[in-house]
Subunit: 235 residues, 2 copies
DNA sequence: TGGAAAGGTGCCAAAAAGTGGCACTATTAT
DNA sequence: ATAATAGTGCCACTTTTTGGCACCTTTCCA
């Protein structure tokens, strides 16, 4: 049994028994009193809230709300969660936004600084608008998640992105653009991009984009995108 | 330096240097080649994708997409994230739902089994309806997160919940009810509960509830709540 | 085809960390 | 006062980790 396993056993026992004594805990876990005391100190260092009362009739107990996860998420998964929480907050529909934010803040802090910077840049390109549910949602934005890596690379490295596009009239075309922002007008998602061949900004519904490909370094920089509610610099 | 610190240093070095050799890595981290090899094996066990090429000119590299967080979230924070993702998916507005789900699944698996069961029960009481944005959102559901613990205890233990309520006409009343479900009709949240003194189901807008208090064991069980789109058993 | 450069494995002794026991202090209820 | 409880410091003992070594496999290159 490793130290980690034993500390998990201590937490389990504390959760099961509620209020107990250290000697009982040591007997339950099968280690010495001294070791259990060391484990309790370690668990407190890890953020578990373990209350204790000295003196006759005393004992220790675990604050149940301090039980924690130990999951390790990939950066992509964190990004998906960030989008979810940011969108819900923008739509004003998340009663527990504070808690969700606290969780995400912890996750972000545990990422390497450069990855965190990337995430913030991606989020800086994400504009979430008000709810627009009058849009027909029958075949709405079922964007293929496998496209994400290509978009991510294009956004982060400011590379040109080329893809096939099917516009509202069903006309197919091939585009090569410089991605500037993601525009979320629930339930639809748009890619906002500068189209150098047309010398204009265009927006593309994400679910109408197929076969995206990242082409490499762009030569177009420092543009400004104006949304309905003001000016927002991107790039 | 603990093993964990050293393994973090290995990840950092791999991320910084891209493609490198084990000897260079050992020099960079300040440990022996043998130890670094053991660390790499441990990191692979933890899910990091570390590619290697044997032979002259070979080396090792880290798949950047496998960089992971090490955050530890409290159960409440996980619940807030679960609500956020579940709501977004119900509203059909989350292109990367698969990724968010994968992240949450990892988080759930890392929780103690009993906490995970609690979370699933809480989510089983959560009904998320279609978007209803025509509702006046000027002073909508800014539910106080500090109420969550009381609701949580009441839901999980099937206890009676008493609170002050201000109805749509501004009439104040004190209620004692058995909570059955949470109904989310964005942007409003409702508590669906059996009111024993009125012998009827009632719903309460969460932001109009104040001073909730958990009273203890209930005597009312096994009810059925019928929503517009069908029947859903709770409790 | 052989040698050099790379990753990978098994083994062992030394070093480090963890563990258990003991004596001790502080606090509290009876 | 006494008993029961949490908590600390110390020391010997035990377990794990670490570093070094020999050796294997793979790959490139002369």
């Amino acid at each position: 049994m490793t130290a980690r396993d034993r500390q998990d056993a201590v937490i389990r026992s504390l959760r099961r028994n509620g209020f107990t004594t250290i000697d009982a805990l040591a007997c339950d876990v099968g280690s010495s009193r001294r070791t259990i005391l060391r484990d309790i100190a370690a668990l407190r260092d890890q953020g578990f809230v373990i209350e204790s009362e000295a003196g006759r009739g005393g004992g220790i107990s675990l604050d149940p709300s301090s039980v924690q996860t130990t999951a390790r998420l990939t950066v992509k998964e964190v990004f998906a969660l960030l989008i979810s929480v940011a969108s819900m907050r923008a739509a004003g529909q998340l009663p527990f936004a504070g808690l969700a934010d606290a969780g995400l803040a912890k996750i972000e802090q545990s990422l390497p600084p450069d990855k965190m910077r990337d995430l913030r840049r991606m989020l800086g390109c994400l504009y979430v608008g008000p709810l627009a549910p009058q849009v027909d949602t029958s075949n709405m934005g079922n964007m293929d998640p496998s496209l994400l890596p290509t978009f991510e690379v294009a956004f982060l490295n400011k590379h040109l992105l080329s893809f096939d596009y099917c516009d509202a009239k069903g006309v197919q075309s091939h585009r090569t653009v410089e991605p500037q922002a993601m525009l979320v007008l629930p339930p639809l998602w748009y890619l906002v991009a500068w189209d150098p061949t047309r010398a204009a900004f265009r927006h593309f519904r994400m679910d109408r984009i197929s076969s995206p490909e990242c082409l490499g370094q762009t030569r177009f920089r420092k543009r400004t995108v104006t949304f309905e509610d003001g000016v927002r610099r991107v790039g």
